[in-house]
């Protein structure tokens, strides 16, 4: 619910490259962190969590491509390091379905991976503060806060990109007659993306999603903690 669904070729090249560099460093660090762990147990868990995220993304909750992510579930179960690897795999596979641009897989992974990263630590914090009996509240709250933070990162990325369609897209030079119409609209819109309008649209659309994802995360974690408590252990970090 916090995917960076910006089309290929609209974000500036430096930002796309920065996304890839950042995610390469994070993945390298994650792989280094788990180098002593046996792959026999990690790989099936990565596979099933990644597959579950993909399957959940195929079930639209509201018919406007609205779906759950389960990134915080991934963070809680896999731990932040492995969750980043899992989310990278998910983003790579769904990009092949055209779900998110292939060139922005790096940035997508940074945004969604942040949900898993923050979600894991908030879950641990809430469990320590509220107590182990409050697993539902801890996971639900962790999910909502993580989603709010990752959405802020998403808006931040768009803001940092300073997307100026006149420069990025170059319509002015190619179609002078169309560009002439630009002069009739308010100046702040001509400068590029209207960050206020973008943030407003995103926040309205995603706000409902945070609550829904928080509730679903809470029930999923509650169920898993009852049936397979060994899958939710602090030492997974």
């Amino acid at each position: 619910m916090s995917h960076l669904h910006i089309p290929d070729g609209v974000l500036p090249g430096w930002l796309v490259m920065a996304g890839w560099i950042v995610i390469a460093l994070i993945l390298a660090f994650s792989i280094y962190r788990i180098k002593n762990t046996k792959l026999n147990r990690k790989i099936p868990l990565i596979g099933i969590i990644s597959a579950l995220m993909i399957v959940c993304m195929t079930i639209p909750i509201i018919p406007i491509a609205y779906h759950i992510n389960l990134s915080v579930v991934a963070g809680i179960i896999l731990g932040p390091a492995v969750a980043f690897i899992s989310i990278f795999i998910v983003d790579l596979i769904i990009a092949m379905f055209g779900h998110g641009g292939i060139t922005v897989v790096g940035l997508n992974t940074v945004v969604i991976g942040t949900e898993a990263f923050i979600g894991f630590y908030l879950f641990q914090l809430f469990m320590a503060l509220i107590g182990r009996d409050s697993i539902m509240w801890s996971s639900g709250l962790a999910a909502v806060i993580s989603l709010i933070l990752s959405t802020s990162i998403l808006i931040g990325v768009v803001y940092v990109s300073q997307i100026n369609p006149e420069i990025v897209i170059g319509i002015e030079e190619e179609h002078p007659t169309e560009a002439a119409n630009v002069g009739n609209v308010p100046n702040e819109l001509v400068k590029g993306i209207n960050i206020k309008s973008f943030a407003k649209t995103i926040l309205i659309l995603l706000g409902i999603g945070w609550i829904l994802e928080g509730i679903i995360t809470a029930f999923v974690i509650k169920y898993v903690s009852r049936v397979r408590p060994d899958l939710i252990l602090p030492e997974r970090a």
């Binding site: 596979g47 641009g101 190619e174």
Partner: protein
């Protein structure tokens, strides 16, 4: 996303793209994505999109289904286009076309190439945990899709999903996801264990990963090079954009002729 349908198309198609090797198809895809990224002209982008629809027709698969799958990012591109709206329909159109064309390019790749073949090509450039993770994830998706189907049927039959009981529905649905996770993990662990016992060492057997070039590979490459050359030409020499409408007309004519040919051929 119809993962099972996409997998079926990739494994049962008989077009030249299905016969082309994964390595060359990835090069072909990369060239078209590069064209979409560097092209900023509405008419040229529309021409590329129509050319991609023509390629989709050549795959001899249900084109409407392919276009529907590839239309998924349209809604997000629309949000982006609205947020950067300045009164120019062309700008909004460029953003929409970039998203749709890139998605269609990727969908053409995956409906003509089985996933293991794609994973085998990228395996040498990614760490082992990621390449194995990709394969196990792909396999697990099918395990989960089957389990999900059973779960939804079970929930409906036993009254787990009923009208107007939204809280109960969310609770049951979420517990269902938890069940999928636990059962799926057991399946996946067994599957991975069996693979290891049978000698799996990180390499998936595939006969479509060689890089030697065949006639089908050359055709795919020529199409990719042509599209990329047109885009690059328009970027280097802006005056060429005057001809973008002709390219659009050419693509449209190619689409009509291809559709008629494929219709009568099948």
């Amino acid at each position: 996303m119809d993962v099972a349908i996409i997998d079926y198309y990739a494994n049962h198609g008989k077009s030249f793209l299905h016969k082309a090797k994964a390595f060359w198809k990835i090069i072909f895809t990369a060239m078209i994505i590069a064209s979409i990224i560097i092209t900023n002209d509405f008419y040229l982008l529309l021409g590329i999109y129509i050319a991609l629809v023509t390629i989709a027709v050549w795959t001899k698969l249900p084109v409407t289904k392919i276009l529907t799958i590839a239309a998924y990012p349209a809604i997000f591109a629309l949000i982006f286009a609205l947020a950067s709206w300045n009164g120019s329909w062309l700008r909004a159109g460029v953003i929409m076309l970039k998203a749709l064309s890139a998605a269609l390019t990727m969908v053409i790749l995956i409906v003509t190439t089985p996933y293991p073949d794609i994973f085998n090509v990228i395996r040498p450039i990614v760490p082992k945990i990621i390449s194995e993770g990709l394969f196990v994830t792909y396999r697990s998706v099918f395990i989960l899709l089957e389990l999900t189907d059973d779960l939804i049927k079970g929930l409906k039959v036993r009254g787990g999903i009923t009208r107007r009981k939204y809280i109960n529905n969310v609770k049951n649905f979420s517990s269902g996801i938890g069940l999928l996770l636990v059962r799926g993990f057991d399946f996946s662990e067994k599957f991975y264990g069996v693979m290891n016992v049978r000698g799996y060492g990180g390499k998936i057997s595939s006969d479509n990963t060689k890089t030697s070039i065949s006639r089908n590979d050359v055709i795919a490459l020529i199409i990719g090079i042509l599209i990329f050359a047109v885009s690059l030409g328009a970027v280097i020499e802006k005056s060429l954009l005057e001809f973008s409408v002709y390219i659009l007309v050419f693509s449209a004519v190619a689409l009509v002729i291809s559709s008629i040919y494929v219709l009568f051929d099948t």
